[in-house]
């Protein structure tokens, strides 16, 4: 097998850390030194001597039938080695995470702007791009379906996946295209009295725009044809095995001939859970017999991955005069865009956690996911909870105002705690410190008052140095919000991870090697894998094997699940290795296994004061164990009532935001964010805080600036010029306090960390802006015109 040869290092190689750091320590990243030297090979850095460059031709139309494609002129460009269309896909022509409904290359209909239509491989990326521009596609352009509610509400409306016009020979043969119209999933949650009444009722509609993951490392990979007719793909992804499954189907190859290795990943946040260039690069490599690299530019990246579902939500909260929640009714519409992706699971989360971490006796929730001709939406950090949290947390503030209560007091009065029932009927059987998170936030000191007069540093004002205000018209607001998020995959998914751990003596030193397929996307799992192996096996040196499909699946790096699930698998595999080593040591040391432990590369018996070096015990023999590890099972919820043990664990966080608003110009400056989060056990406190601060930034971004603007199915701002993400000037200091209430069901008591802070931060910012302005503000991101009424 040939591997990428770029100096430095090609595909990521074995990572051996700087050493030191067990569970609970601020351990250093094993890939850190490579990253600061510029030597860490991301997907877009891969290179081989004779490689070609692949590019994608994409549909300019959100909805159209393809009458014909003429590739002749493109093939004639010197330097072009292949031009491919759907005819060249040898296997399944559609793929998908949950439902296979998305064409590898457009079949006969394109359903969103940017849908891949054809591929070109050439010896220079510019050649490939120029050739792609010469492909002639004859489109019959149709009116797009662009509103989720209209898509669902009108049975005679053009059905994105079932209009008679698009039933051609190809789609008729393809049994996987969604046959049932525009509804992807409808989840119902029903609890208590179906017609409840209350003293005080608050009803509002909310809207959340389309957010993008905007990871910095572009979608990239290198496909290398193998001598066995298979292919090796080095790719930046979140889940190697689910990619492999879909690639195998499309290429009509068995798994042993489609081998994946994780290339360096420059952030993911859900946006790499679906395929992007994976099959395309493999197709081009197999057709040309040459290695093919594909790397999207920023504009193509906006078209090349799924986004966060935009949502429209109607919420009705009823409470007693004293502030006890009596009922919540909610109708939630998620716009899934043109293909299903993970919309069914997003709907699951939106519905089963759609009223927040509160105890409510009567609940009536309908959560819908719809097909439209907008860009496909799928996984993004917070997965179905970010949108609903904007609504339910806004409702709690609105209700508090109606009751004349303090918003934090109202939340605490209704907060879930250990032993409470969630709206699915599931008993929360681990700590749920919602009240403590909020009270601790309240107790934190507030930043200094808004400066006035000569004290004004323009850099601290909304609008910054552009001299827009010297403090006149600036109002300060403070807002709170809580997040509640399931950890790992829910609703009965077989959610396992696999770990192979080897212990051996190299050069006189005991070394552990950890091999999993769990994607490191920047969050620090490679560090955690080392920490666990050091802790369980009492060694300092731990090597992390490259992430590839030569070991069993670790599942997805998403849903805040990898430290829990792959961490659990590594721990279990280490325990199995340790048991074998101690069993072998038993007779040598002359003590029962129960008296023995591993520490400092030795078998130690405290009672006897014996310390037997592993070098003596193992010689040149390695002890290796491979294990699959599962969290306790969950179950599908009842389709009519939404009741059931759907989620294995919940994460809780809370935010307080302090903002200054220039009420004349509608500009917002977030002054400070504070976050409290229960992480169960901080395996790596420094990394945990980093996750919380990063998640806080993404939530703030959605609250005040981040939106993919889609008009008539067309994206208006596919660039970092027009899609704004927070810069260091937009981000305030982020205070973090972590609680560690062990979850009795989780390894080390840990809780997934990554998503919760992304959920509570945005609603807190919104609450603060509302407090500053007195405006209701029911749409995010908040724009200047919402604040000035223009």
């Amino acid at each position: 097998m040939s591997t990428p040869t770029r100096a430095p290092s090609g595909a990521p190689s074995h990572l051996t850390g700087p050493g030191g750091g067990r569970v609970g320590d601020d351990a250093a990243r094993p890939d850190g030194v490579l990253k600061v030297r510029g030597e860490f090979a991301y997907g877009s850095d891969l290179w081989m001597d004779d490689m070609l460059w692949g590019v994608t031709l994409r549909s300019p139309h959100p909805y159209a039938r393809i009458r014909s494609i003429d590739v002749g002129a493109a093939l004639a460009v010197p330097g072009v080695h292949a031009v491919l269309t759907s005819d060249d896909v040898p296997g399944e022509k559609v793929y998908g995470l949950e439902l296979a409904d998305q064409p590898v290359l457009a079949l006969d209909v394109v359903r969103y702007q940017g849908e891949p239509v054809a591929l070109v491989a050439a010896d220079h990326p510019d050649t490939a791009r120029r050739a792609a521009a010469r492909i002639v596609v004859d489109y019959d352009v149709w009116e797009p379906v662009t509103d989720a509610r209209r898509a669902l509400g009108h049975p005679t409306w053009n059905q994105v996946h079932d209009s008679p016009a698009e039933v051609t020979e190809l789609s008729r043969e393809s049994a996987h295209l969604h046959p049932h119209g525009n509804l992807v999933r409808h989840l119902k949650v029903r609890r208590g009295d179906p017609a409840p009444t209350a003293d005080v009722v608050v009803v509002n509609e909310y809207e959340v725009g389309m957010q993008d993951q905007a990871f910095l490392g572009p979608e990239s990979g290198l496909a290398v044809p193998g001598e066995d007719g298979g292919v090796d793909l080095y790719v930046a992804t979140q889940w190697l095995h689910v990619d492999q499954r879909q690639i195998c189907a499309a290429l009509a190859l068995p798994p042993e001939r489609v081998r994946l290795t994780l290339a360096g990943v420059g952030g993911a946040f859900g946006g790499r859970e679906d395929l992007s260039m994976h099959v395309h690069a493999c197709l081009l490599a197999l057709h040309t017999g040459r290695p093919v690299k594909m790397s999207y530019n920023r504009e193509e990246s906006f078209f090349g991955h799924v986004h966060r579902h935009p949502a429209t939500m109607r919420y009705e909260h009823g409470a007693t005069r004293d502030g006890d929640l009596v009922y919540v009714k909610a109708t939630i519409y998620f716009d899934g865009g043109a293909y299903a992706s993970s919309t069914p699971a997003v709907v699951g989360n939106g519905g089963t956690m759609g009223i927040g971490p509160y105890v409510v006796p009567n609940v009536h929730v309908d959560c819908y996911g719809a097909y439209t001709n907008n860009p496909p939406c799928g996984a993004m950090r917070g997965f179905g909870s970010v949108q609903t949290a904007f609504a339910y947390e806004s409702q709690m503030d609105a209700l508090a105002a109606e009751l004349g209560m303090d918003p934090v007091d109202l939340r605490c009065r209704n907060a879930m705690e250990q032993g409470s029932e969630a709206i699915t009927g599931q008993v929360v059987d681990s700590p749920a410190p919602v009240v403590e998170l909020l009270r601790r936030l309240e107790a934190m000191p507030l930043p200094p008052e808004v400066p006035t007069g000569d004290a004004v540093d323009l850099r601290d004002m909304p609008g910054g140095v552009s001299n827009s205000t010297h403090g006149e018209g600036v109002r300060r607001g403070v807002g709170y919000a809580v997040a509640y998020k399931n950890v790992a995959f829910s609703e009965g998914f077989d959610d396992y991870s696999t770990a192979r751990v080897r212990l051996e003596v190299v050069g006189g030193e005991a070394v552990a090697t950890v091999h999993t397929a769990a994607a490191e996307v920047g969050q620090g799992l490679v560090t955690v894998e080392q920490q666990i192996a050091r802790t369980e096996l009492g060694v300092d040196r731990v090597t992390v094997h490259p992430k590839d499909t030569a070991v069993g699946s670790a599942g997805s790096t998403s849903a805040s699940r990898q430290t829990y699930v792959t961490g659990g698998a590594v721990k279990a595999a280490c325990e199995a290795v340790r048991a074998r080593v101690l069993e072998r040591a038993r007779s040598v040391v002359g003590r029962p296994v129960a008296d023995l432990r591993l520490d400092g590369g030795k078998v130690v018996s405290d009672l006897e004061g014996v310390a037997l070096p592993l070098a003596d015990l193992l010689g040149d023999e390695a002890v290796e164990e491979t294990l699959e590890w599962r969290h306790r099972p969950t179950e599908a919820v009842d389709p009519e009532t939404g009741q059931g043990f759907a989620h294995v664990q919940y994460a809780f966080s809370a935010h307080r935001a302090v903002v200054d608003v220039d009420t004349e110009l509608g500009l917002v400056k977030v002054v400070e964010m504070a976050c409290t989060q229960d992480v169960g056990k901080a395996i790596n406190p420094q990394a945990v805080v980093g996750q919380i601060q990063g998640g806080t930034a993404q939530g703030l971004g959605l609250a005040v600036m981040e939106e993919i603007l889609v008009r008539d199915g067309r994206v208006q701002n596919p660039s970092f010029t027009d899609y704004l993400i927070p810069t260091v000037l937009d981000m305030p200091p982020v205070r973090v306090e972590i609680l560690e209430y062990a979850d009795p069901h989780a390894p080390y008591g840990l809780r997934g960390v990554g998503e919760a802070p992304n959920i509570s931060s945005g609603p807190a910012v919104l609450a603060a802006i509302r407090q500053a302005t007195g405006l209701p503000l029911t749409r995010v991101p908040v724009r200047p015109e919402h604040l000035t009424g223009t």
Partner: protein, 162 residues
């Protein structure tokens, strides 16, 4: 065309450079120096920040031909082989590196900032750090630990007269 310039102190020459190739492309794809990153290639994110004759620029906005005869410095040249520059060390210690895609550009921008302020015999204030790094996007960290790293590096370098 043929491009000759000095990269990280070493004279380099590459042939067959096309009109329209950026300095970033030439560094990454023709010189085997992929340390400078290609996050936007639009001058918006700062991931590709390099020194050109001692001034930080976005390499994606520099046409390769503009580098003719000039000095280019990249992240790969910040420290001698096997060593770490104080800014690199500070980013590691502060936990400022997550996915790391923004890191090379931020390291060059930070090096520029702390070098300039050290020449003036001071360490940069927070507002100045924020202004200096405002052209470098990071999607992972929320910037707090990056600020910690810059402060740490500035403090350490202030006491070092190099």
């Amino acid at each position: 065309m043929r491009l000759s310039c000095t990269v990280n102190g070493t004279p380099r020459q590459v042939d067959d450079v096309w009109e329209g190739e950026s300095l970033l492309y030439v560094l990454r794809e023709r010189m085997g120096l992929p340390g400078s990153k290609n996050a936007c290639e639009q001058g918006e994110c700062g991931s590709c920040t390099v020194y050109l004759d001692g001034l930080p620029v976005c390499a994606c906005l520099v046409a390769a031909g503009q580098a003719q005869g000039r000095e280019v410095g990249t992240v790969e040249g910040l420290a001698p082989a096997g060593e770490l520059h104080p800014v690199q060390q500070a980013f590691l210690e502060a936990g400022a590196v997550q996915c790391g895609f923004c890191t090379p550009g931020l390291l060059v921008a930070t090096d520029d900032l702390v070098t300039r302020s050290r020449a003036e015999g001071r360490t940069p204030a927070d507002a100045e750090i924020r202004e200096a790094l405002a052209g470098n996007l990071c999607r992972c960290t929320g910037y707090e630990k990056i600020l910690d790293a810059v402060r740490l590096a500035a403090d350490r370098m202030a006491g070092d007269p190099r």
